[in-house]
């Protein structure tokens, strides 16, 4: 009896997708399963968008980054296993960050700039306004960080990647990522101390 079975892409119920592992999804995407791709897009679109915004891109550019990343995954999902044995999450963030970096380099300088009078503006503002202004100041200060420090901080603090996973995205060691994050935090604290009420 023949024991070779050609695996068909799994039919995925998109209402209950939280427990499907990424590597199963990528395998199905590589086989051309658009349902699996939809699940992957639901899982990662917002994350890629957030990475791009925090890297210093505007809303429309961040949406482009999310779209370009996922379409690249659609076209080259079959290359994941050949790509150095990284986890799917690391591989996806690496693609997203490469696309993000290309866009940041095209525009030459970060769009966000630190306004000079925000320290005074935070005085007496209500809580929501204060939070919004604090967010703007933090965003502007992050945009001034060196690129690798910025991405290390984004991946580890906001995206919750381990140092090892972030090392896979950045092409360095876990120790190297630890150093980058430490320096990024020191640099940010130094910059944010200038603004009353931010720290």
């Amino acid at each position: 009896m023949c024991c070779t079975v050609r695996r068909e892409p799994e039919r995925i119920d998109t209402q209950d997708v939280s427990d499907i592992p990424d590597d199963v999804l990528i395998g199905d995407v590589a086989a051309g399963d658009r349902d699996a791709f939809r699940v992957l897009a639901q899982r990662y679109t917002r994350l890629f968008y957030a990475v791009a915004i925090r890297a210093g891109l505007d809303r429309s550019e961040a949406e482009d980054v999310a779209q370009d990343t996922l379409l690249r995954v659609w076209r080259s999902a079959d290359t994941w296993r050949r790509d150095g044995g990284a986890s799917v999450r690391t591989w996806l963030y690496r693609i997203a960050w490469n696309i993000c970096t290309d866009r940041l380099r095209q525009r030459k300088r970060p769009m966000v700039e630190l306004p000079e009078d925000l320290a005074a503006a935070t005085d007496g503002a209500d809580k929501i306004m204060q939070d919004a202004q604090r967010g703007r100041i933090v965003g502007a200060a992050m945009a001034e960080l060196p690129e690798r420090q910025r991405v290390a901080l984004i991946l580890c603090h906001y995206e919750g990647l381990s140092h090892t996973e972030a090392a896979g995205v950045l092409g360095t060691t876990a120790k190297g990522v630890e150093g980058l994050v430490g320096r990024a935090r020191q640099e940010l604290a130094k910059r944010l101390k200038k603004y009353k009420g931010v720290l």
């Binding site: 658009r34 639901q42 679109t45 917002r46 949406e63 999310a66 931010v198």
Partner: protein
Amino acid sequence: MDRQDNDMKLDRALDAFAVGEPSADLIERIVAKTAMPDDVPVAGFMMSRPLIAKAAMMMSILVVIVSVMLQMPVRDAVVSNAVPDMSVDRFVNDVLASADFPEQDDPVALLETVAQERQVDRFLDQVLDADDDPNSLF
């Protein structure tokens, strides 16, 4: 303790950096893009976009190679052998160089002289040939 406190303050500040939400239809737009056919018709054949890109790249490389070859000295050698320079000036200069004619400024007169000389040569050749022929009038 002070350092821990600073770290917590920095974490709170970092968390204040909200990014908002992408457009509500972004995921649908992305998924819709995967439905676009990868193959497009080119001169009656269905070709994939990557194949078209590769073909375009190969054509570009070919054009560059041909352009470079046409700039090489071999081009001049090939062309000059295949199509000799037939200009009147060149012809006159060649005649002047190969024959010991008195210098003449008028190229037409020079050509007439050459033609006359050749007629005389032909006539003398005929006479000399006829000398060996027993049926000749001479």
